[in-house]
Amino acid sequence: MDGKGLTSITLGLTAAFLSGGLLVLWRLLYPVSDAALLLPGVVALVIWRGTARRALARHHVWRAAVLRRESWLFRLLTGRLTAHLSGIVAGLLAVTALAEFALTASPASGLAALGVIAVTGVVLPLVAKLVAGHLTARLLAPALVPPLAWGLGLAATGYLFWRGWYVEPIPPEADAASLAAALEMAQAALPARDHLAAWLLALPRSLETAGWVLAGQGADFAFAPIGFILVLSYHALIGGALVRFTLDCACALLPGGADEG
């Protein structure tokens, strides 16, 4: 994986276009057909590849520095297992949040999310250019992406939360008479399906709805901050996932195979 590729603005924009395009396609097609379930699969694959490549690159450097090449441990600890596991976990987490958000976000929020993706796609090559002179190409991606993901993720969280809290109208489910009724209504807003993917989509949906309902009850209840915290958590999940997805997409697009460091 050639980390220098991250300095390419073309790569950043391609990653943004691919990330945004996949989410838009998902939003348009899943309500129509279950065939669209292949798209979250693509998203998960991209996140897995980007995450695993960085993990492997980091591990290979660690292995070369720590282990003797003649040792059987050198052959055993290839780092593939943990790299792929972390890729799979990141992929599943992010894809669940992104898929739910893409389906239920208002058009304005959807555009805001595309904006976050575009900004990430532009900022990545700019920052990579800034630090490329200081970092080795092999470790440019593993060293740059985590702090960049945190920085951009926090900014995206703040922006999306501000929009959700102050700009967007409160979701209609928050009107429900009880939390249980609100959760039921919130699930009903998702395309009516009964399979594993639908159950997974219900999780972030419930997190967001519970946040709004509890925040709405804030005036009457002493545990008011819970609603605020849940809504903030939801937006952090979405903001972080949007940024990570774009960055992982860029890492996945870097020249080279999936495994080598």
Binding site: S33, A35, L38, R69
Partner: protein, 334 residues
């Protein structure tokens, strides 16, 4: 550590160049295949008529806005009709003013009004001669206004709802919204009718609205009549006293009894004659003023009735409107 080359030596078997670094083509080919498969399958599903249209939750606020707008439109349409209805109610009253003035400026009228005043039947003559059929016309007008309100509300709501709920099977409502909607469609007829509320203006039930209006006019009229009666009484006494003297002189021919009868008869004839003359003189001098005064009093009552009707239409709108209500309150039936 310096920048590593893209092509690495195999770390496990040094000296052997690792097999050509994969370019990731396989991965991206898989991605492309999955996207193409999605598009292909979806297109096939669409062509095969397997579309499942996107559903949407209709929030309470959206329904509330439609209900409120329909109620406001109903109010506007009804208020616009109030003047025409009042014209229809009051036209016969105004047309009857000259006939009532004829009655008022007659000896019979004078004594009928006095008798009704004595027996507490204030306004009975007015009600009979001026406000005949008023209550029926009022009831009819209230029914018309009520009908206009309900019809405008229902049609406005129906049209707006049809737009929002265009495809009811794929759009659905939250619980509060569903109840608010069911409620909204029944509200126009379930709220307090305009006619009943008129009772608040002074009577205990709508049926007595005519009494309220008549009594108000009668009160003002009696005040006006009272001011003039004092002036007329002095004239009458002088005239009747003179006629009694003449009658007594003529009756004296038949002795003291004859003088007494002649005196009494002369008094009555003199009183009535004087009364007639005074009334006719009064009519000559004051009839135009009286009619104008009566018109003013009726116009004042009409204006008061107009205010009450418009307020009642607004109250009816307020009862229907959902602004400021929460779905919880609607669920509780508040």
């Amino acid at each position: 550590m310096s920048d590593a080359p893209l092509i690495l030596t195999d770390p496990v078997r040094p000296g052997r160049v690792q097999k050509a670094v994969p370019t990731g083509r396989g991965f991206w080919a898989l991605v492309a295949a999955m996207v193409v498969a999605t598009l292909g399958l979806t297109t096939w599903g669409a062509l095969d008529g397997r579309f499942e249209t996107q559903r949407r939750v209709i929030p309470f606020a959206e329904i509330a806005a439609l209900v409120d707008e329909a109620a406001a439109r109903a109010e506007t349409a009804t208020v616009a009709q109030v003047d025409a209805e009042l014209d229809a109610i009051f036209a016969p009253v105004e047309a009857a003013i000259p006939a009532y003035a004829d009655f008022h400026y007659s000896v019979l009228g004078e004594y009928t009004q006095l008798a009704q005043l004595a027996t507490g039947q204030v306004g009975a003559a007015l009600e009979e001669r001026l406000f005949g059929g008023f209550q029926e016309r009022l009831d009819g007008a209230l029914g018309t206004l009520e009908g206009t309100f309900a019809a405008t509300y229902a049609s406005a709501l129906e049209a707006d709802m049809a737009e929002v709920l265009g495809n009811a099977e794929i759009r659905f409502l939250t619980e509060g919204t569903r109840i608010a909607l069911a409620d909204a469609q029944a509200r126009a007829s379930a709220t307090k009718p305009i006619s009943l509320v008129l009772g608040v203006a002074g009577a205990t039930a709508g049926r007595q609205a005519v009494k309220v209006v008549t009594a108000a006019v009668a009160r003002k009229l009696l005040l006006s009549i009272g001011r003039k009666t004092a002036a007329k009484t002095a004239t009458r006494s002088t005239g009747a006293g003179g006629a009694a003297g003449v009658g007594a002189a003529a009756g004296a021919v038949f002795g003291p009894v004859g003088a007494a009868i002649g005196g009494a008869g002369g008094f009555i004839v003199g009183w009535v004659t004087t009364d007639y003359v005074v009334i006719k003189l009064d009519e000559l001098m004051n009839r135009d003023e009286f009619e104008a005064e009566l018109r003013t009093m009726i116009a004042e009552e009409r204006a008061a009735l107009r205010t009450v009707l418009i307020a009642q239409v607004a109250a009816k709108r307020d009862e229907i409107t959902l602004a400021g209500r929460t779905p919880d309150a609607v669920l509780r039936g508040e």
